[in-house]
C-alpha cells in the first residue's frame, strides 16, 4: 500500500511540474507586469530597474530556470502586489476555501445519503418523485444565479443576511447554501441509482431469505454496498469545490483561493498564480489519495 502511495505521489509530482511549467509560460504570455505596477509616466530607467529587480529582463527560458532553481529551495517568489512571499499569500487564502468546501461537501453528502436512500427504498412513491425533481433542480441551478437570487431575496429584499464579506455566522449561510446545492442534487441522483441497483442484487435476496429486518437490509446491506460509487462522485465534487469556489467567493467577497487566483491573474501577479495552482493541485492530490484509501477500506476486494 505504501508503494502504491509512493507511485501515486511520484506521478503527481511529475504532473505538478508539468502543470507549473504550463502555467509559467502561459502567464508570461499575458504581458509585462510593469505596465500595471508602475505609474504611466514612469521613466524607461524606472521600468528597467523594476524589470531587473523582478528578473523580468531576462529571456523567458532563463526566467524559468531561475524559477525552478528557486522552487528547489522552496522559494516560491514574491507577490508583486502585496510585497511578501507568494506562498504565504496563497496559504493564507487556502484555509478560507477549505472551510467552505469541507462544510459544503459534508452537508451535501450526509443529506444526499439520507434523501437518496429513502427515495430508493420507496421507489415510485410521492417522496421519491419530489426528491427526484428537487435534486435535479439543485443539480441544474447555475451557482452564480442562485447566489444572485439569494442576495436579491435575503439581503436586498428581506434584509436578513449580509450581501458579502466574512465575520459572523450569518455570512456563512448563503455561500454554504449555494455551494451545497449542486453537489447535493448530483449526489441524491447517484445515491438513488446505486441504492436501486444494490437493492436488486442477489445478496439482498439472501438477506431477505435470512429474515433480516427491512431497515437493516436498506442501510446495512444496500447502502453499505452503495458507498463506493457515492465516494467516487463525492470525491470528484470535493475536487471541484476546492477549485471551483471561484464564483461563490467572487460574489460573496470571500477571501479564498479562488478569489485570490482571479485577482492575481488580472493583476499579473505571476508568483501568486503559480503558488495558488501549486497549493490547490497538492490539495487535490491528497484528496485523491484519500479517496483511493477509502475505497480499500470500504471494499475488502480492493487492495493496492
Amino acid at each position: 500500500m505504501f508503494s502504491y502511495i509512493g507511485r501515486r505521489a511520484s506521478h503527481s509530482i511529475l504532473s505538478v511540474i508539468g502543470l507549473l511549467t504550463l502555467v509559467f509560460f502561459l502567464t508570461r504570455l499575458t504581458g509585462d507586469p510593469s505596465a500595471l505596477y508602475l505609474p504611466l509616466d514612469a521613466t524607461a530607467e524606472a521600468r528597467a530597474a523594476f524589470a531587473s529587480l523582478n528578473g523580468l529582463d531576462q529571456p523567458v527560458h532563463w526566467q524559468f530556470a531561475e524559477y525552478l532553481k528557486d522552487l528547489l529551495q522552496l522559494d516560491f517568489g514574491q507577490s508583486l502586489r502585496q510585497n511578501r512571499s507568494a506562498m504565504e499569500v496563497a496559504l493564507q487564502a487556502f484555509p478560507e476555501t477549505l472551510k467552505l468546501a469541507l462544510v459544503a461537501i459534508t452537508l451535501s453528502t450526509a443529506l444526499a445519503i439520507l434523501v437518496g436512500s429513502l427515495a430508493a427504498a420507496r421507489a415510485g412513491s410521492l417522496f421519491d418523485r419530489i426528491a427526484g425533481v428537487a435534486s435535479l433542480a439543485g443539480a441544474s441551478a447555475p451557482d452564480f444565479w442562485v447566489a444572485i437570487v439569494g442576495i436579491l431575496v435575503f439581503a436586498v429584499g428581506l434584509e436578513l443576511l449580509p450581501t458579502s464579506g466574512t465575520g459572523t455566522w450569518a455570512h456563512w449561510i448563503m455561500p454554504i447554501f449555494v455551494l451545497t446545492l449542486r453537489p447535493f442534487g448530483l449526489l441524491v441522483q447517484v445515491v438513488r441509482g446505486a441504492m436501486l441497483s444494490a437493492l436488486a442484487s442477489p445478496y439482498i435476496k439472501t438477506a431477505r431469505a435470512k429474515g433480516v429486518r427491512r431497515t437493516k437490509i436498506i442501510f446495512g446491506h444496500a447502502l453499505r454496498n452503495s458507498l463506493l460509487p457515492i465516494v467516487t462522485v463525492a470525491g470528484d465534487l470535493a475536487t471541484s469545490l476546492v477549485n471551483g469556489a471561484v464564483v461563490v467567493e467572487t460574489i460573496f467577497g470571500w477571501p479564498g483561493i479562488g478569489k485570490l487566483m482571479i485577482d492575481a491573474i488580472i493583476q499579473r501577479d505571476f508568483a501568486v498564480v503559480q503558488s495558488t495552482i501549486l497549493v490547490t493541485a497538492t490539495a487535490i492530490f491528497i484528496l485523491n489519495i484519500a479517496v483511493d484509501l477509502l475505497y480499500a477500506f470500504l471494499d475488502p476486494r480492493i487492495r493496492y
Partner: protein, 307 residues
Amino acid sequence: MTILLPDTKSTEEPGTARVLHAYLKRDRLALAAAVFLALFVLAAMLGPWLVGDAASRLGLRQRNLAPFSLEQSWIYFLGADTLGRPILARLIVGAQNTLGIAAAAVFSSMLIGGALGLVAGYSERWYSHLILRLADVIMSFPSLLLALIVLYTLGPSITNLVIVLAITRMPIYLRTARAEVLELRERMFVSAARSMGAKPVRIILRHIAPLVLPTLVTISAIDFATVILSESALSFLGLGIQPPDFTWGAMVANGRGYLSTAWWIAFWPGLAIMLTTLSLNILSNWARTVADPQQRWRLQTLRKAAR
C-alpha cells in the same frame, strides 16, 4: 437433411421509436422536458432571424422596463435591460450562442475523448499510458482555475472557450470509453473476431466502437448541462464570451450590478439556464431508466391478469 427445431422462441422487437415514444408518454416530466428542449432548440435556430434586430435595438423609453407590462409590445413581456433592449429577444438570441458553444464543446470532447479512449483501452503500447497520464493530469487538477488562466492569456473568444471547455470535459469520455473497451475486448465476440483474423482497426471500429457509442451519447446529455453551467460561469466572470456577442451567462453578469433596481435583467437568463439544464438532466434520467432492464417496467403500462 434439416434438423427440427423445438426451440424456436424468438422474440420480435417492436419498432424501437414507437416503444420510446410510449415510454416518454408514461413519464410526464420527461415529456415536458423534451417538448421544452425542442422549443428552445427551435428558438435558437429560428430566433435570431425573427427577433435578431429587436435584440440589439436600443430603446430609451424602455430602459429598465419592468416585466409583465403589457403596454409595450409582447417582446417586452419579460422587461428590458438598462439600454432598453427587450430581454425576451436577447434570451432567444443568447440561446443560440449558449447552446451552440455547449454543443460544439460536447461534440468535440466526445469525439476526441472517445477516440483516445478506444485506443487507450485496446492497445497496451506506450501511447496508451501517455494518454491515460494526460487524462489524469486534466482530471486531477483545478480545471476551472486552469481554464481561467488559459482564457485570460489566449484571450477570451468563442473558439478558445470551446477549446477550453472541450479539454476539461474530455477525460470523462476518455475514461468511460476506456473502461468499456477494457471490458468489451475481453468479450467473446472480440476473441471470435480475432480468431478469424480480424485486424485491430476492424475490431475497434466494427465491434467495439458501436457498443461504446450509446454510453458516450448518454453521458453527453448530462455533460451538455455541465458545459452550459461552466460556460455561463466563465462568461459570468468575464472570461467567456465578449461583447457584442453574449450568452445567458454573460447576461446574468450584466444584470448583476442592477440587482436592487432591475432584478429581471439577471433573473430571466439564469432561469433559462436552469430550465435548460434541468430538462437535459430529466431526459437523461429517463433514458437511464429506459436502458436499465431492471427498472424499465416503471415506464411500462402494466396490466394485471384478470382474476
